[in-house]
Each structure stands twice: as C-alpha cells, then as structure tokens.
C-alpha cells in the first residue's frame, strides 16, 4: 500500500519527529515499500486466534506492598539536560 506524503507528515508529528523535505520523500517511498511487504499478513486466516503480545505469558506477577528505597533524586536528575535541585526544566507550556 502506498503512503501519501501528507500521511507521512502526519505520522511524523504523531511520532514527534521532524523530517526535512528530502527525508520526507525518502521516508514516503521506503515506508510504502515496507508496508507493501507487511501487507502479506492479510493473507493469513487468523480469525478467532488470540493475539499473542508476549512470548512467555507470565500473568499477575505480584510484589509485596512495601516501601523500598528508590533512585535518589540527585541521581535521577544527574543526566537531565536542564534541571534544578527539585525537578526537570521544560519550556513553558502555558502562557508563554
């Protein structure tokens, strides 16, 4: 199935990516090719088959409800590009 340029632009926004004009052209062509290949899944009769999200279907792994030490704040913040001593800093979302 061929994707349109407009679809690819929309997907790029959803994926929070930005593509240059030439990336957009290449991506449209390559995604169309790949999607065309995976379209063969439609040949398979899988009616009534339970989807398999995980290879080992372990269910209900419980942990005891107990307070345990977690990652110290300064370690959690240590790799942040912008932070103060309490949290991560981001551009203003409201009322810029």
């Amino acid at each position: 199935m061929a994707l349109t340029r407009a679809e690819v632009e929309k997907v790029a926004l959803l994926a929070r990516l930005r593509l240059t004009e030439s990336e957009l052209a290449t991506m449209t062509e390559q995604l169309s090719q790949i999607v065309g290949y995976v379209d063969q899944l439609s040949e398979v009769d899988a009616d009534g088959i339970e989807p398999m999200a995980h290879a080992v279907e372990v269910v209900n792994v419980f942990a005891e409800d107990r307070v345990e030490p977690s990652l110290p704040r300064e370690l959690a913040l240590a790799n942040a590009p912008r932070h103060n001593d309490r949290g991560y800093l981001v551009p203003a979302v409201l009322g810029e």
Binding site: L14, Q40, L41, V56
Partner: protein, 518 residues
C-alpha cells in the same frame, strides 16, 4: 599460537589452575585490541584501567583462596546497550552519547559479581536496530574474515571482537537475530536464550517483548559458561521467568541420546545461497552419522515471520523510544536556537497575514521534542519509529498490529507442534555469508529480509544458537542454527556441542588476524 586465540572455557581453566594470571591475560587482550581494533572497529570504548583493576582484584581473591566462579578473571566485552554505572552507555546513538546510567543492568551486575573483567563496550547498530552494525553513529565495524564486509548486526562489535580474538567472550542482545546473525557471519557461537531466561533490567529497550540478552563465544562451552553466569530470575524484570538456571557448563559436553532433529522444509526454498545450503545439509549428515534421527517438519507460518516482526518490533520501538524527548536524559536540542526559529517563523507568517498558520506552528514543548528527536536519532531509528507509529495509528491498528500478534501466535503454535515430534530444529541462520559494507544501506526492506531465519525464535520466545558449520570458497564463515523448546537451553547447548566436537569449524580463525600481526 598466542593465548588470545583460546576459547573462554579453556582460559577459565587456565585461570582456575593458576597457570595464568588475569592481569597477564587482560594485558594480552588489551595489546591485541591495540593492534587489531584500528582496522576492525569492534569497540566503542576500551576500559583498560578498569579492566586491569578488575583483573588484579580477581587475582587477589584467587590468591587468597576465595571460592571463585568460573568467569573470575576472564575478559568479557559488553555491547553498549547494557547499563553500566561506571561508564557511559551510548547505544551507538547521538541521543545517548553522554548518558551515564545511574545503575547497573542485572547482566552487568552479575558479570561484575562473577569476577569477570569488563574490557569495554562494543559497537552496534543504533539502539540495536539493524543487521550490519552500519547504523552505528559512532563507527564502522569490519568483518575480521574480510574487512570489506559487514560483521552483521546488531551485535556486530561483540561478534567481531570474539572473532578477531580481542575478547574470548562477549555479551550481545537479540531482538530478531542480533546475536545469531553476527555470530554466523563472524564464525563464532552466539546464543539467544528463551525470552525471560535472562533479566532485561538495565537493557536499553528496543522491542520489549522480543529483546533478550545472550552470550557470544568461540565455542558452545563458552556460551554455556557465560549463560550460566547471566541467567536467572530477577524481580525487577517482571517478565523474567522464575525458574532456576541450570549449570550449563557442567552438562554441555554430554551428547544427547536418541536425538531427533527437525529439518524445516520451508527453510530450503529459493533465496538460500547454495554454499550455505550445502554446508547446512552437510551438518545434518554429520548429525545423522552421530546417530541422530532426522525428520522433515513444517513451520507453515514461518514465511510470515519477517512481516509480523516488522510490525511488532517497530510498534514496540515507537513506544519505547518515546522516552527520548530531551527532558529526562540524553541529547536535547539547543533551546535558544529553538525559540529563535519559532519567533522567526511566527514573524514571517504574521507579516504575510497568515494568522491561522502562525497559530498552528508547533508550540515550544512540541518543537523541542521534535527537534531533539530529529537531531538525536539516525535514519533507521526514525524509520522504525515512523513505521511503528503508523501501524499503531487510528485505522491501521487492527490490520497491522493486532493481525501481527495473531500471526505471532500461529508461528508459536507451529513450533509447539514441531517440538512434539522432534527435540531440536536445525537449519540455516542466514541466507548467505557476510555481505559487503554499503551493499544494503539504501534498501531497508532487503536488509529486513536478512532476518528471515532468525525472527521466528524471537516471536515465539524460544532459545536458539548459531555455531560455525563451514566456510565458503571465498573463505567466509557459515552458521548453523539450532532451535529448542522454551527453557531447553541445556538441550540446545548439548546438541550443538555434539556437532562442534565432531567437526573442526569452531577452531578456524580468520587468517589475517592469526598470523600476520602477531
């Protein structure tokens, strides 16, 4: 022959017997890396100082008579995708070029606790996405058997390091073949364990329902030794299987009695290189001569494996990689430039009277995300994020993601059915030997099809191993794949060892890296 060409299992014995010190061994490997890695490019970083410290510590503990595990003092190289609190962990991506993990991955912690000497971090396709290591943003890795060819990927650095005798063993990860394919192309042994056998805690996620950590070594004994050290239940990975890990190293040499091997008829279809086919058929004959019963079996849905995989893996990747947004860690775009760009665009549109368009411009936060991700990810990572986002988007979810999950179950059922008739499945790892660097970089679909024989094991969650079974006329390694039912790594290793012990393929070394430079 220099000691660096030995297998991990042999070296572990020499270390245990006190015939060589870990410091001495580590120095030899560091020298070897100095001489060879300029050409091969297997390592992103070599941690020489730490390696020598760990080696000295292992030697001290041994002299003090402590009870040491089989990996104590043994050099191991680690793919740059497992968190190590002592060193940056980059995933070969600009996104994580400066990332210093706040904790150790379970596998890294286990290696440290076992007294292994961590030599350094090996090259890989960015975020483990690729089959040639060419998607690394750091460097090109070359195949030690032919420097114009790829080592495979994504664990290409780990496989090349072992093949070029720069480490006796290495850690890789396998989401769709990323341990087995480079092992095959580099003529070494690589094992992908059962999903859940090895903890994924601290493994930088690509596709969480498929990712699995495993060993690369010269021999099946090496793989057994390293797997033993890294396997086991670990509560911080909720998908880790709560079953004890056997001592694989103790049983690997025991042949399997009455072995029934399944040959998948769909594997020998068009597209399989004739030299690879003939080596694999020869291997099947070797097993027959060892007393194995050979049965033809069918995995009718295996031909849909690549299609299902290239829906499921990108979907999971698009979700997993959403975490890279320039806020919590990793690369972040220049905010001054970002605001300047926004103001300039807004002014241009306002001046032109297009107030609606000015209003529709990406606001600062979205703009920061998009710039950060576009600057921090390479082309293949973007392609997979796009593919996954598309397949999960409204209107396509049922046709692609849900359908792929159903096909995944059919693939698993095929295996379950097959393993009612046979103990192990035997076949090729790849359709051909190592390909030329650059050959497929502009053709992502062709690159994806390389995974034909490997992805099904990940989709089904079963263990599989690649071991050397021949050389082409041109002198390139050929890999043999064995697959086993879930949690049957012990059977897998013992079965693989039977072939290895009956042949000499695992003793072959790339010519230009055994003699010329010594």
């Amino acid at each position: 022959m220099s000691i660096v060409h030995g297998s991990a299992a042999e070296l572990a014995k020499l270390l245990a017997a006190g015939e060589i010190s870990s410091v001495e061994l580590t120095r030899q490997y560091l020298d070897r890396i100095d001489r060879c890695d300029g050409e091969i490019g297997a390592f992103i970083r070599v941690d020489a100082d730490r390696a020598l410290e760990q080696a000295a510590a292992a030697d001290r503990r041994r002299r003090a008579g402590e009870d040491l595990g089989p990996l104590a003092g043994l050099p191991v190289a680690v793919k740059d995708v497992l968190c190590d609190r002592d060193t940056v962990t980059t995933c070969a991506s600009p996104m994580l070029a400066q990332f210093r993990p706040p904790y150790d991955a379970t596998v890294v912690a286990k290696l440290k606790a076992a007294g292994a000497v961590l030599m350094g971090r090996t090259n890989m396709d960015e975020f483990a996405m690729g089959g040639s290591t060419e998607n690394s943003a750091v460097k090109t890795t070359r195949n030690p058997w032919d420097a114009t060819r790829t080592p495979g990927g994504s664990s290409g650095g780990s496989a090349a390091a072992v093949a070029a005798s720069m480490a006796p063993a290495a850690i890789g990860t396998d989401t769709g073949g990323s341990i087995r394919q480079p092992a095959a192309l580099c003529g070494v042994v690589g094992l992908k364990p059962t999903y859940g056998r090895v903890s994924r805690f601290g493994l930088v996620a690509f596709a969480s329902s498929l990712d699995q950590v495993g060993p690369i070594g010269r021999t099946t004994q090496d793989a057994a030794l390293v797997l033993e050290a890294i396997a086991g239940h670990e509560p911080r990975d909720a998908t880790s299987i709560n079953r004890p890990a056997p001592r694989y190293g103790l049983t690997v040499n025991q042949p399997l009695e009455g072995l029934k091997l399944g040959v998948v008829k769909e594997h020998f279809a068009a597209g399989l290189d004739s030299e690879v086919e003939s080596a694999v058929r020869q291997a099947i004959e070797t097993y027959r001569s060892l007393g194995a019963e050979i049965r033809e079996i069918s995995l009718p849905h295996s031909k849909y494996g690549v299609a299902a995989y290239y829906v499921i893996a990108p979907c999971e990747a698009s979700s997993n990689l959403a975490r890279y947004e320039g806020v919590h860690y990793g690369y972040s775009t220049d905010q001054t430039a970002m605001f300047a760009e926004l103001n300039a665009e807004r002014k241009r549109l306002t001046d032109a009277g297009d107030l609606q368009a000015a209003d529709d411009l990406d606001p600062p936060l979205v703009r920061m995300y998009r710039r950060t991700r576009s600057e921090g990810f390479g082309p293949e990572v973007k392609r997979r994020i796009m593919l996954g986002t598309y397949a999960l988007s409204a209107g396509y979810y049922d046709a692609y993601y849900l359908k792929a999950l159903k096909v995944r179950r059919l693939i698993r059922r095929d295996f379950d059915e097959a393993f009612r008739q046979v103990d192990l499945i035997i076949g090729p790892v790849t359709a051909g030997p190592a390909f030329k660097l650059g050959e497929m970089v502009d053709d992502p679909l062709a690159m994806y099809l390389v995974d034909l024989y490997t992805v099904s094991a990940n989709l089904a969650g079963i263990p599989a191993i690649s071991l050397p079974c021949g050389l082409t006329q041109a002198g390139l390694p050929i890999g043999l794949q064995l697959q086993a039912p879930p949690l049957e790594e012990e059977r897998l290793l013992r079965g693989a060892r039977m072939f290895e012990a009956a042949t000499q393929w695992s003793e072959k070394r790339p010519a230009n890296h055994t003699n010329g430079r010594e």
